[in-house]
């Protein structure tokens, strides 16, 4: 159990970043991630997620503000701060001509791990991520999913206390994504704090306990996942009905939208219960064949919070995933 006195895994205060060309990427954000948390940092493209991660890892120079990792300020105690961080970036950034095992062992070496120890750890993480059989393969020949897992193994080789994953499952098929979720949950359960950025809102909702949403360089929401989703005022359910329904079909007490003769969308307010919906349907002697949410709950909240909702097109929704998977 972590002591209440232990420093935050990440404490960001008044962080600003203005790029040379004048673009303001961060407008003075504050963020706190507790040790042991599984934290989601969401936002549309260009919102400032990668800039924030870049500053934490010293790849981007901040304009103002302070960042500390487990109590180590990245300006004054940079070695200790960096030692705590493992990063899985958005883009593949390993040597494409190097063998898988060498990439992980070399990264261990950069952190001062003697070669023997680095080899042991590389084997451990490559096995856990199902890459051990590929250890002598040149990295550029790996599939996209394998490359993502290689970057996770590389980020873990020095066993950081804080693991930052910038869209780790982008372009990964659903089966593999789920196995990566299991792996990340194990890593988190072992005590590693995880910060995740993702375009898959279902992923954030499944994995993360706390969440911050960043938009146009500002943090627009920062709370527990439960609290954030609790603020949803309305959900839209899609119902497949056995009986045939006329286009002017209505359901007393509910906002109802006819989709086709066997499908309707029903909006349910926070105060309403699904039981009352079923009761209303039963009153009309209608049988429900299946029921599902029209959109991911987090997705609905996310879209409602954005200053410019048109940016939602940057986000991948579950129904898009299904389409990709069946293609």
């Amino acid at each position: 159990m972590l002591s209440s006195q232990s420093p935050s895994a990440l404490a960001i205060s008044g962080l600003k970043k203005t790029y040379r060309e004048g673009f303001i990427a961060l407008k003075g954000i504050d963020l706190n991630v507790e040790a042991g948390d599984f934290f989601a940092l969401l936002g549309p493209n260009g919102a400032g997620k990668s800039t924030t991660i870049g500053v934490i890892c010293s790849l981007v120079a901040k304009t103002a503000g302070s960042v500390s990792v487990f109590g180590h300020d990245i300006d004054h105690d940079f070695a200790a701060a960096k030692r705590c961080i493992g990063v899985v970036p958005q883009e593949f950034n390993f040597n494409q001509f190097e063998k898988v095992l060498n990439i992980v062992v070399t990264q261990g070496g950069y952190y001062g791990l003697p070669r023997k120890e680095a080899l042991v750890r590389a084997e451990k993480y490559l096995r856990l991520l199902d890459l051990w059989d590929k250890r002598n393969v040149v990295s550029r020949t790996l599939s996209g999913g394998m490359k993502r897992r290689l970057m996770i193994a590389r980020a873990l080789v020095h066993e950081p206390k804080l693991l930052i994953l910038d869209e780790p499952t982008a372009g990964v098929d659903i089966e593999l994504r789920r196995s990566m979720w299991d792996f990340l949950q194990q890593v988190n359960a072992s005590g590693t704090t995880i910060i995740l950025t993702t375009h898959y809102l279902e992923e954030a909702e499944s994995l993360c306990r706390n969440i911050a949403i960043i938009d146009e360089g500002d943090i627009i929401a920062n709370s527990s996942m439960k609290d954030l989703l609790g603020k949803l005022s309305q959900e839209v359910l899609v119902l497949d009905i056995v009986e045939s329904l006329p286009p002017d079909f209505t359901l007393k007490g509910f906002d109802c939208n006819w989709v086709d003769a066997h499908c309707i969308e029903v909006s349910i307010d926070r105060e309403q219960h699904v039981n009352s919906l079923f009761a209303a349907l039963e009153a009309q002697q209608l049988q429900v064949k299946s029921l599902r949410n029209k959109a991911n709950r987090l997705e609905e909240m996310f879209v409602s919070l954005l200053k410019n909702p048109s940016k939602q097109s940057d986000i991948d929704y579950p129904h898009h995933e299904s389409a990709e998977a069946s293609a």
Binding site: L59, A61, F94, N95, T106
Partner: protein, 262 residues
């Protein structure tokens, strides 16, 4: 990061750099050996036999130290500039920049990698030269010092070039339009005493002239420098001075994040 960890990390960079150029030895070690062998054959053997003496020596004896230094300079520079910029371009440099490694160790690791290739190619070229003439070295200590320090200097130059380069054009401009003319006009193939006084004076502004002549002096016991009123020590001070200057600029740039942090 304690000293033991720093030592391990430093060894990792040097090992990776040496492993890189050894893995692609057909691109990194064979071409300079062939090029320099052709220089020996054409300029030293075929044309050189008709030239006669140069600077008081057989032309082959005169040209050999220059060709060895040319190979060391070009390969030290090329190794660092291509390796560092390649990593910058592929963003794999981020693997290193996110670690707690101090900047001076990153610089030192790359410079030693450049040195390793420069000196290995220098050794290969020296071995090739033995096919064409009998090498005898007047001052081993001086020759080793000059060749190592020159290699360090050009490795630093390659690092600086790669740090500020934003495209592959940027890493070919300096070697093609600056280094190559300075090397060729730095007395590799001729004694600058052959030049008119004005061009001799202009040549004195070329730092590579001092390096090549210092090395030639260490091999043959004589060079253009003394006849122009310069001691070998002045050449050595100049090399060391440039090393200090470039090291300072490289470290300052790294600390400021120039070329590596946005």
């Amino acid at each position: 990061m304690n000293l033991v960890s720093q030592w391990v990390a430093f060894k990792t960079i040097v090992y990776r750099e040496i492993h890189r150029f050894m893995r692609i030895w057909v691109q990194t070690l064979v071409p300079p050996a062939i090029t320099i062998a052709l220089y020996f054959l054409i300029f030293g053997q075929l044309i050189g036999s008709r030239i006669g003496e140069m600077g008081g020596f057989d032309y082959m004896q005169f040209v050999a130290p220059g060709l060895i230094m040319m190979a060391v300079i070009q390969n030290s520079y090329a190794n660092v500039v291509s390796s560092f910029f390649g990593q910058k371009f592929a963003r794999s440099i981020e693997e290193l920049l996110i670690t707690p490694l101090p900047h001076y160790l990153i610089l030192l690791g790359w410079v030693l990698g450049g040195d390793a290739r420069g000196l290995l190619v220098g050794a290969i070229v020296t071995f090739v030269s033995l096919w064409f003439y009998d090498l005898s070295v007047v001052n081993w200590t001086l020759s080793i010092f000059v060749v190592i320090s020159t290699s360090v200097l050009f490795s630093l130059g390659g690092f600086l070039n790669a740090l500020f380069a934003e495209s592959f054009d940027d890493i070919s401009i300096v070697p093609t339009f600056i280094m190559q003319p300075l090397i060729y006009l730095g007395g590799v193939f001729y004694s600058i005493q052959l030049l008119p006084t004005f061009w001799q004076t202009v040549s004195l502004a070329n730092p590579i002239l001092y390096m090549i002549n210092a090395f030639r002096y260490s091999i043959l016991g004589s060079s253009d420098l003394e006849s122009l009123g310069f001691s070998i020590n002045s050449a050595l001070f100049m090399i060391v001075g440039f090393i200090i200057l470039l090291t300072t600029i490289c470290l300052w740039s790294l600390n400021k994040g120039r070329g590596i942090r946005s």
